[in-house]
């Protein structure tokens, strides 16, 4: 597997830490969250295995290219449209959450329009960039953030106030029956690598997904799931954890840097995760944008005024939906819709795999 696939995976996992994901898990903390998390962990590794294997036969080609070669337009266009929407919503969900967080914690006195404008303009610029540059940005940002993230994680795990009794108390609910929403929420953590449906055109080497890769994905997933579920419980307590709106923000606010320049770790956390969120939104929307480009035939237009205008129109549509959604959606809506969205993820995954299976069969013939 190319290192960029890991990066894509990591960035998606990290960005979901702060969004609605943990809240959904905590809502089910007394209804089988633990056992489902273990099941979903294996499913997540399986998802990645299936993805890499289905793309193995087509190094250097992205999904729209593959589909246009092997299946008719009647199949490829609806499929790309659906996938494009899924990726758009993935970005939108992160965007709405982060705008809300910024408003509440970072700049409470600022107008919401300015925040949206700031986000949307910068992200739009990222969206229409070349795929190659986006991958480079991804690598650069990850390398730059790494020291901060390592420090933050160490701080979390070695925090004196972290109550491991609370953690084991949460674990004692292991014998409850599994729950589908938790399953799909965890499965969503592993879809980061699915961005290669577009970025595969840059990954020219043939990818393998053997035991080694599976183990890396497994341990990465296990670590992220463990951290995102149990650390907030250890800090905030098992009881009433589902009542906390942003468990991760509250958790990082509960950690103290005794000798730091600033005492509140929350600001390091916000800084790191704002960058990650930005990147994640850019990635998701970029994939979505590329898919839509193929659907509406903008991709094949010759360079010129017409193409520029088409791109412009698409970006404006992206903004408009984002602005309306951000202004309209309340916290409860966001929680509810995120749940529906996550629930659709395993199904869409199966759909995509079915399509890839069909394509692989045709390619072999």
């Amino acid at each position: 597997m190319s290192r960029f696939v890991y990066f894509l995976l990591i960035i998606n996992m990290a960005a979901n830490l702060i969004a609605s994901g943990p809240r959904i898990l905590f809502a089910k903390s007394e209804d089988g969250a633990i056992i489902t998390m273990i099941m979903a962990l294996f499913f997540g590794v399986f998802m990645n295995w299936a993805l890499i294997n289905s793309f193995k036969a087509f190094p250097g080609k992205n999904l729209p290219q593959i589909l246009s070669t092997y299946v008719s337009k009647w199949v490829s266009i609806p499929a790309l449209l659906v996938l494009g929407t899924i990726w758009y919503i993935a970005g939108l969900q992160t965007l709405i959450t982060y705008i809300d967080i910024m408003l509440r914690y970072l700049t409470p006195e600022m107008s919401i329009y300015i925040i949206i404008g700031m986000f949307v303009l910068t992200i739009s610029f990222g969206v229409i960039m070349q795929s190659r540059s986006i991958l480079y940005i991804l690598e650069l940002v990850l390398v730059m953030l790494l020291p901060g993230v390592v420090y933050y994680l160490l701080k979390l795990y070695f925090e004196k106030q972290l109550s491991w009794d609370q953690v084991t108390l949460a674990m004692s609910y292991i014998d409850n029956p599994p729950d589908y929403t938790v399953f799909s929420t965890i499965a969503f953590l592993f879809v980061g690598s699915f961005d290669i449906i577009i970025f595969n055109s840059l990954l020219k080497k043939k990818m393998v997904f053997g035991i080694k890769q599976a183990l890396i994905v497994f341990f990465l997933g296990a670590f992220v799931i463990f951290t995102s579920y149990f650390i907030p419980i250890g800090m905030l307590g098992f009881e009433k954890i589902e009542a906390v709106l942003y468990p991760w923000l509250i958790t990082s606010d509960s950690i103290r840097m005794k000798f730091g320049i600033i005492e509140r770790v929350i600001f390091i956390f916000l800084l790191i995760f704002l960058a990650i969120a930005f990147l994640n939104i850019i990635l998701h929307w970029h994939v979505s944008f590329k898919l839509f480009e193929n659907v509406f035939g903008v991709k094949n237009m010759s360079a010129g005024m017409k193409k520029n205008i088409s791109i412009g129109i698409m970006v404006v549509v992206f903004w408009t939906i984002a602005i309306f959604a951000t202004l309209k959606v309340t916290e409860y809506d966001l929680f509810l819709y995120s749940k529906y969205y996550f629930n659709s993820i395993p199904i869409s995954f199966l759909g995509l795999m079915l399509l890839m299976w069909l394509v692989n069969r045709r390619a072999k013939l």
């Binding site: 509440r104 914690y105 700049t107 409470p108 006195e109 600022m110 107008s111 300015i114 404008g117 700031m118 303009l121 910068t122 739009s124 610029f125 229409i128 070349q130 004196k160 106030q161 109550s163 009794d165 609370q166 953690v167 084991t168 108390l169 674990m171 004692s172 609910y173 292991i174 014998d175 409850n176 800090m235 905030l236 307590g237 098992f238 009881e239 009433k240 509250i250 606010d253 509960s254 950690i255 103290r256 005794k258 000798f259 005492e263 509140r264 929350i266 991709k299 360079a303 010129g304 005024m305 193409k307 520029n308 791109i311 412009g312």
Partner: protein
């Protein structure tokens, strides 16, 4: 794909315009803000179920060198809820009340009971109040405590921050209570939150913190003595540099503890259904800090033995006192629940068993020397 030169420029232009729009992120200048350093909460004198809020506001001065002592302003207001009172206080001053630096919440002793949840809620909901703010009980009242300006307080520093911050004062008699931890412990069955108790000296020039209070949802808070506070700190780990007074007929000396380790386990009865006994094992390393007579290195084992017995007695005393009051500051109940598979019966079993539990404490004192003189 190549993006047109014009589009590129246009987007760049829009991005720059976007930066201009920020107007400093709607930022209010530092001289337009008043920094609240501490909040005091007392029961209201006039309103039923109301609160009296006192804010300690740090006043700005030109340079630290010029001022000899810190200057504060105190704002007080009664209200039915904390949020309401603070909102009203905002109309008493000309600047924005900034709560982002507010690091101490001092609460009147009497308020530390069940309805604490209702007013803690406000602090949790506000995004700008740090959850690592220190919480303390106050005696005789929060307002008096806030108004004490200790003579040791330097300009541009707040005495209460130093007391609880563990960066300056690390006394074994001081318990630190954090806002987030208080919420966690209040909501959890099987542990009682412990908060420090701040008292003012007679002349109102010193803040004395050497007691702690154990908060219970159902009854009045229980006040620990200084010695009990010290033992609580030892057992709830993390506290070091303790001194222990050991005394019998022949010897009197003081132990300086540098390391310690506490482990305990539950022993169930024959039917394995209820816990019957807690076996606690404490390992302590240290040196002798003060002695009335000359000590000899060769007798170290004897001193170990003596110290162990003395400490066992005191720890046992602390544990049984807590048990008699039906309080659980160390979280035995939580640990019991955490080590069993979830079942609604676990908690009731524990609650029934706790008042009759037996404690067996063994303390291993390993003295590493008699200090610098024998």
């Amino acid at each position: 794909m190549k993006i047109g030169f014009l589009t590129n420029r246009l987007i760049l232009f829009l991005c720059i315009i976007c930066i201009l729009l920020q107007s400093g992120c709607a930022f209010k200048d530092i001289d337009k803000r008043l920094f609240v350093t501490a909040i005091g909460i007392d029961p209201s004198e006039n309103l039923e179920d109301g609160f009296k809020i006192t804010l300690k506001v740090a006043l700005p001065f030109g340079a630290i060198k010029e001022s000899t002592e810190p200057e504060y302003a105190y704002l007080s207001k009664e209200g039915e809820s904390i949020g309401e009172a603070i909102r009203m206080l905002e109309t008493h001053v000309d600047k924005v009340l900034e709560l982002g630096q507010m690091k101490t919440i001092v609460i009147h002793e009497k308020l530390l009971t069940n309805h604490m949840q209702s007013f803690m809620d406000y602090f949790f909901r506000r995004g700008d109040i740090p959850l690592i703010a220190f919480i303390a009980g106050a005696k005789p009242s929060a307002e008096t405590i806030l108004k004490v300006e200790p003579s040791t307080e330097a300009p541009a520093s707040v005495a209460l921050f130093n007391t609880f911050g563990e960066t300056a004062n690390e006394s074994p008699y001081i318990v630190t209570g954090y806002l987030f931890k208080l919420r966690r412990d209040i909501l959890t069955e099987g542990i009682n939150p412990v908060l420090p108790l701040v008292e003012a000296s007679e002349e109102r020039d010193q803040l004395i913190v050497n007691n702690a209070i154990v908060v219970d949802k159902k009854k009045e808070p229980y006040e620990l003595t200084s010695t009990e506070t010290k033992y609580f700190n030892t057992l709830s780990d993390g506290a070091r540099g303790f001194t222990y007074h050991i005394k019998n007929d022949e010897h009197r000396f003081l132990l300086n503890i540098s390391q310690h380790n506490v482990t305990y386990q539950f022993v169930p009865d024959e039917k394995l259904s209820t816990p019957q006994k807690i076996i606690m094992h404490i390992k302590v390393k240290g040196i002798i800090g003060e002695s009335q007579e000359s000590l000899s290195l060769s007798n170290l084992d004897e001193y170990n033995q003596l110290a162990s017995e003395e400490m066992e007695k005191k720890v046992l005393h602390f544990l049984t006192t807590m048990q008699e009051e039906n309080l659980d500051p160390l979280g035995f109940g939580l640990h019991y629940r955490a080590t069993r598979l979830h079942d609604p019966d676990v908690l009731t079993t524990w609650k029934r068993a706790y008042p009759d539990l037996e404690f067996s404490v063994t303390v291993d004192v390993i003295l590493q020397g008699t200090g610098s003189i024998e």
